[in-house]
């Protein structure tokens, strides 16, 4: 199985989620993260002080899918998360050796 981790802009979540569900993905896990990259951050003022904040809010999406689906999932996420502006994010794929569903102890693809 393949773990796909995608860093996306927060306001694209709904599109990405719906697109994934549409191609048959049944589950995913999301966490709020802060990204540093080419996209610039912003400046904040507090009375006399000025702070540069380099990190911008992003979502990290994690979806584990069978090998067979991996490419399509990457493709789907890319399309749904795309805005064309800097900071759209990255998609990483890596191998998962085992999966287990806690509720049923199923393992392998049917555990997803």
């Amino acid at each position: 199985m393949v773990k796909i981790e995608a860093i996306i802009k927060p306001f694209r979540l709904t599109e990405v989620q719906e697109a994934l569900v549409h191609i048959g993905v049944q589950g995913m896990t999301v966490s709020e993260v802060k990204g540093f990259g080419r996209q610039k951050g912003h400046v904040e003022f507090y009375r006399g002080a000025e702070y540069r904040v380099d990190f911008v809010p992003k979502l990290l999406l994690m979806v584990v899918v069978p090998e067979s689906l991996a490419e399509q999932v990457v493709d789907t996420i890319q399309k749904a998360a795309y805005t064309g502006k800097i900071g759209d994010g990255k998609i990483f794929a890596s191998r998962i050796s085992d999966v287990m569903r806690i509720r049923t102890r199923e393992t392998g693809p049917e555990a997803l």
Partner: protein, 454 residues
Amino acid sequence: MKRLVFACGFLVLVLILCTAFAGAADAPTPLAQPGVAAAVPAESGPPKIDTGDTAWVLASTALVMLMTPGLALFYGGMVRRKNVLGTIMHSFVALGIITVQWVLFGYSLAFGPDVGHFIGNLDWIGLRGVGLDPNPDYAATIPHQAYMIFQMMFAIITPALISGAIAERIKFSAYVVFMTLWAFLVYDPLAHWVWGTGGWLKELGALDFAGGLVVHISSGVSALACALVLGRRKGYGVDLLAPHNLTLTVIGGCLLWFGWFGFNSGSAVASGALATSAFIVTHIATGTAALSWMLTEWIHRGKPTALGAVSGAVAGLVAITPGSGFVGPLSSMIIGLLAGVVCYGAVNLKPRFGYDDSLDVVGVHAVGGTLGALLTGFFATKLINSAGGDGLFFGNPSQVGIQALSIVVAWVYSFVISWILLKILDKTMGLRTSEEDESLGLDLSQHGEVGYTF
């Protein structure tokens, strides 16, 4: 839908029963001659400052001042996190802008010597001649300046109320200009018509004790113009535009309730019987409306919400405002009951109309204010305030007509002027932030700061 019909039917029934009851019950209340009458001491001589009256008006003024921050929090909690400070600023900045405007011009325009029943003249600009002796035209037992500052707080909160309709997308600079001009063009004239000596609606006999027309209709209707001219927020109808911090909204709502005692009861501009009466009807209407919104919601959707209960309270406060110095306790209970149901309904109908009145200023203030101003025409009685008037249920059907007329006037005037003003600003300086700024949020884009760094 069925549930809604049921709920409404049920409430109409309750209304009818209560009305009968109210007519009967409020009448025999033993009453002194409170109000303006009581405020003018029998003995001749120059008006004298009463320490108790002044204490109550000053306390009330402080309470009304607190309503604007209360509103800031009430609204601030309902937007998304990234707009919390921007939304707070929409109210807070009124404390700066209108304070200065009022001292320099506003008070004179609204309450200064009358020009053609339409506006005050400029005799009182910079508070010239507004001193510490009472001005018996407005309040015979407190310093004129106390009356001036009490009224200032009304002028401050009114434009701030509008900001709920333009939340999460207006440019701060445009907002500041809008508010300033609106104070001159809408608030000051309207206040003069209704409350200023010589104002034409006042002379017509319109009853508006603490600002149903001047405060709530004017702001609520202008909010409608705002929502229409500005258009919807990005993501409206698609994204989760849920309140980010309802505890803030609860804090704000409660400060509003607390401060509103000053708003309504302080409008007696004296301590004593009339202030007491206004105080209790304010509270009764509010408690009842909180309950009735909550129950309607419970019946209609299956769950009573905290946001609903607080919204109901605000709706009740709005609805009782115009009649607070004219109606009795059971009448106020009916007004509150109806306010909760009607404003709940109005807020739920909003999606049908498609405009994005983000924080429901129309549904609560325009609708609630209109309801209250109208019901004042039914429930007002001279038994409570000899300087007021009798409503339909106390034998004077014409009051309903007068109320209806002034409501129409306030609607039309506020809407037209606001709409023109907004259109001009939109064409010249632009009202909305850029798309990018909107999605970054007002806090960062307009103010360069964030609400929370957890």
